[in-house]
C-alpha cells in the first residue's frame, strides 16, 4: 500500500509540472474537438500530430496523445447525443437514449450526466490501473481465442436487448451486421468475400461509413421529411443541468457501468468495445420499467458513458504492463513511444517508473480537465442546437463527408456512405434499426476470427472448446440473456395472434 502511495506521489510529481498540465489540457481540448467532428477519429489525429511531439520529452508527448484519446471518447458522445451520430463504436449505445433525450429538450441533462459519469468512472479506473495493473494482466492472460469467441457471443446476445421494437427485427439486423462483417478479404485464406469484385470493399466495410450513413445521414433524411415533428430545435431548452432526481437515478448505473467497463477494458483484443453495450443491457434488465429505454431513459446514458470511459482508461493496461497494444490507438501509442526512444514492454514499469506513474497520474488529471472543459461547453452545445435546421443539416453533411474522406483518403468511402444513407432511410421506413446492425458488424468480425482461431487450436473439436470453464460460462450467459429477451416477446406475440 505504501508502495502504491509512493509511486502515485512520484507520478503526480511528474504529471503536475506546468508543462505536463498544459499538455494534458491541450490534448483533452484537441481530443474533444476531434471526437465531436464526425469521422475524424483519434487515430487520424494522433497520427497527424505525432511529428509535432518530436520536440517534447517522452512523458509530455504521451500525456498529450493520451489526452487526445480520452478526449475523443467524450467528444464522440457529444455528437451521439446532439445529432445522433456515433463518433466511435463505443458511442453507438449513447445515441439510443441520449439523442432521444435531446429531442425532448433534455440535451443538457444528457450531456451533464455523461460528463459526470465519465469523470467518476475515470477516477475509479485510474485507481484500478494504478493498483491492480499487474495482477489484472495476469488474469487477462487466461483469455484465449475460445474465451473471446464466447465473450463476443455474449455480446451479440446483449445486442438483442438493445432493440427498441420488435425482437425479431433486432435479431435480423444483428444477423445482417454479422453478414456485413464478413465482407472483405478473409484473414485466414486471403480470398475476397462478397466484395463483388470491387477493390474498395476488399478491406471490409469501414465502421465510420456505416455509422455515418445509417445514423447521421439517414437521420438527416428522416428529419427533412418530418418537418412538423422535428423538435430538436423547437423544443424549449428547459433546464441545462440534470435535476437532482436524474442525478440520483444515474448513480447506480454509473457505478455498475464503471465496473463493467473497467473489467472489459482490460482484455487485450478490444474488449473495451463491449463495455457500453453490456452496461446498457444490464441497466435495461435491472430497471423497474424497461420500456423507458430507447425513449430517453437517463440510465441508458449514464451507465454506458461510465463504461465507455472506464474501458478507455483500463485499455492502457496491456500496453503499460506488457507492451502489447490492445487496439489500433494503443498501437499508435506504441509507435509514439518507440519513436521517442522508449520501447514499451514488461520492463517499462521498473525501468521507467517516472513515465509509467506519470502517465497514470496524468490520466486522473485528464479526467478532471475533461470535466472542467466539457461542463461549461454543455451550455454552448445546447445553444448550438438552435441553429436553424435548414443550415445545420448541410453543415452536418459537409462535416461528415470530410470526416469520412479523411479516414482513408478515399472518395469511394464517401460514396459508400451515401449508399448506406439510403439503406438506413429505407430501413427506418420499415422499422429496422441501425444499432443492432452496427454491433453485429463490430462483434461479428471479432467473433468469427476468434472462433476459427479457437477451432484451429482445438483441432476442429467444438466440445474441447466448450470444456474450458470460462468459455462454457460465457456461452451459458449468452444463452440465458437470449432466452430472457426472446421469451416475453414470443409470449406477447402468441397472445396477439390468438386474441383475434
Amino acid at each position: 500500500m505504501t508502495d502504491l502511495l509512493a509511486n502515485l506521489a512520484l507520478g503526480f510529481g511528474v504529471a503536475l509540472s506546468l508543462q505536463n498540465v498544459g499538455l494534458a489540457f491541450v490534448g483533452c481540448m484537441v481530443g474533444t474537438l476531434i471526437g465531436v467532428l464526425p469521422g475524424v477519429g483519434p487515430i487520424a489525429t494522433i497520427t497527424m500530430l505525432l511529428p509535432i511531439t518530436f520536440g517534447l520529452p517522452p512523458v509530455g508527448a504521451l500525456i498529450l496523445l493520451a489526452g487526445i484519446y480520452y478526449g475523443a471518447q467524450y467528444g464522440g458522445s457529444t455528437t451521439a447525443i446532439l445529432v445522433n451520430i456515433p463518433g466511435e463504436v463505443t458511442s453507438v449505445v449513447t445515441t439510443l437514449d441520449g439523442h432521444q433525450m435531446a429531442r425532448q429538450g433534455r440535451a443538457g441533462a444528457a450531456l451533464g450526466v455523461a460528463a459526470l459519469g465519465s469523470f467518476f468512472a475515470g477516477c475509479f479506473s485510474t485507481l484500478v490501473v494504478a493498483g491492480l495493473a499487474v495482477p489484472l494482466t495476469r488474469l487477462a492472460m487466461v483469455f484465449g481465442p475460445a474465451e473471446y469467441a464466447a465473450l463476443m457471443l455474449a455480446g451479440l446476445a446483449f445486442a438483442v436487448v438493445l432493440a427498441r421494437g420488435s425482437v425479431l427485427k433486432s435479431i435480423a439486423m444483428i444477423l445482417l451486421g454479422l453478414l456485413l462483417s464478413t465482407v472483405g478479404t478473409d484473414l485466414e485464406t486471403g480470398v475476397d468475400r462478397m466484395t463483388f469484385g470491387l477493390p474498395a470493399l476488399s478491406d471490409g466495410l469501414e465502421f465510420a461509413v456505416l455509422a455515418m450513413g445509417l445514423f447521421g445521414f439517414a437521420e438527416v433524411l428522416r428529419n427533412l421529411e418530418a418537418t412538423e415533428t422535428r423538435d430538436v430545435v423547437q423544443a424549449p431548452i428547459g433546464r441545462v443541468w440534470p435535476t437532482r432526481q436524474e442525478l440520483l437515478q444515474s448513480a447506480g448505473p454509473v457505478a455498475r457501468g464503471s465496473l463493467v467497463g473497467a473489467a472489459l477494458g482490460i482484455l487485450p483484443g478490444n474488449g473495451a468495445v463491449l463495455g457500453p453495450f453490456a452496461s446498457y443491457a444490464l441497466e435495461k434488465r435491472l430497471a423497474k420499467d424497461p420500456s423507458r429505454f430507447g425513449r430517453g431513459a437517463i440510465e441508458g446514458v449514464a451507465g454506458p458513458e461510465a463504461a465507455n470511459n472506464a474501458g478507455a482508461q483500463t485499455s492502457f493496461i496491456p500496453l503499460l504492463t506488457l507492451g502489447i497494444p490492445p487496439n489500433a490507438v494503443m498501437a499508435l501509442m506504441v509507435g509514439a513511444m518507440t519513436i521517442h526512444g522508449i520501447v514499451p514492454g514488461p520492463l517499462v514499469m521498473s525501468r521507467n517508473p517516472a513515465l509509467f506513474w506519470g502517465l497514470i497520474a496524468s490520466m486522473w488529471i485528464g479526467n478532471l480537465m475533461l470535466l472542467v472543459i466539457n461542463l461549461p461547453l454543455v451550455g454552448l452545445w445546447v445553444r448550438f442546437l438552435r441553429v436553424p435546421y435548414r443550415l445545420m443539416f448541410p453543415a452536418i453533411l459537409l462535416f461528415c463527408c470530410i470526416g469520412i474522406y479523411s479516414v482513408n483518403n478515399s472518395p469511394s468511402d464517401v460514396l459508400l456512405t451515401g449508399g448506406c444513407a439510403l439503406l438506413g432511410y429505407a430501413a427506418g421506413k420499415v422499422g429496422l434499426e441501425g444499432a443492432p446492425l452496427l454491433l453485429g458488424m463490430v462483434l461479428g468480425r471479432l467473433f468469427e476470427e476468434n472462433l476459427r482461431r479457437a477451432l484451429a487450436i482445438a483441432r476442429g473439436d467444438p466440445w474441447a472448446i466448450l470444456q474450458r470453464p470460462i468459455t462454457a460460462g460465457l456461452v451459458l450467459a449468452a444463452l440465458l440473456v437470449l432466452t430472457a429477451a426472446i421469451l416475453p416477446a414470443v409470449r406477447r406475440g402468441r397472445e396477439e395472434i390468438f386474441t383475434e
Binding site: L168, L179, L398, I402, V414, A427, E496
Partner: protein, 161 residues
C-alpha cells in the same frame, strides 16, 4: 379474422412484410455472392461458413417476419419522399467526385448547396453565402489546424494546396 374482397389474405403489418421480403432478398444475394467460397465443416469452418450460416439465419428471420405480417397487426408504411434522399445523394456523390480533383473549395459548397436544397425551407442566397463561409472554416480547421491531408484546391499542373 376479417377478409378483404376476393378472399385475399389481408396484410396486417405492411412494414413487417416489406422488411421481411427485403431481408429475404438480401439473404439470397449473400448466398449468391458467397457461392464460390469453400464452406468447410463445423470443426474447420472455411471462409464461406459464416456468410452462409448468417445468410440462412437472415433468410429465415425475413421469412418469419413476412409470414407474421399476415398474422399480427403492425404499422403501415409511411410516405417515401423523393426530393430529400435524391438531393442528399447527389450532394454526397458530388463531393466524392470533386474532392480529389478541384478539391474542398469546390466540393464543400457543392455539398452544402445541393444538400441544402433538399429542405423545403431552404433560402438560396443565404445558403450560398453559408456554403462559402463554412467551406473556408472547414478548410482552416481540418487542413491547417489539424493537418489532415484534405485537398483544398487542386488544379493539375497549376495549384496543389
Amino acid at each position: 379474422m376479417t377478409r378483404g374482397e376476393g378472399n385475399a389474405p389481408r396484410i396486417r403489418a405492411p412494414q413487417d412484410l416489406l422488411a421481411g421480403l427485403a431481408l429475404l432478398v438480401l439473404a439470397l444475394l449473400a448466398f449468391w455472392a458467397s457461392r464460390a467460397l469453400p464452406a468447410g465443416r463445423l470443426g474447420a469452418p472455411g471462409p464461406g461458413f459464416l456468410p452462409r450460416v448468417m445468410a440462412a439465419g437472415l433468410g429465415l428471420t425475413g421469412l418469419a417476419l413476412a409470414v407474421l405480417s399476415f398474422l399480427r397487426a403492425g404499422e403501415a408504411l409511411g410516405r417515401f419522399t423523393l426530393r430529400g434522399p435524391l438531393l442528399v445523394l447527389l450532394a454526397v456523390a458530388g463531393f466524392a467526385l470533386t474532392i480529389r480533383a478541384p478539391g474542398l473549395l469546390v466540393a464543400g459548397p457543392l455539398v452544402v448547396v445541393v444538400g441544402g436544397a433538399a429542405s423545403p425551407e431552404s433560402r438560396p442566397r443565404e445558403l450560398v453565402i453559408f456554403a462559402v463561409i463554412i467551406t473556408l472554416a472547414c478548410a482552416g480547421l481540418f487542413r491547417y489546424a489539424l493537418h489532415l491531408p484534405i485537398p483544398v484546391l487542386v488544379i493539375p499542373g497549376l495549384v496543389n494546396l
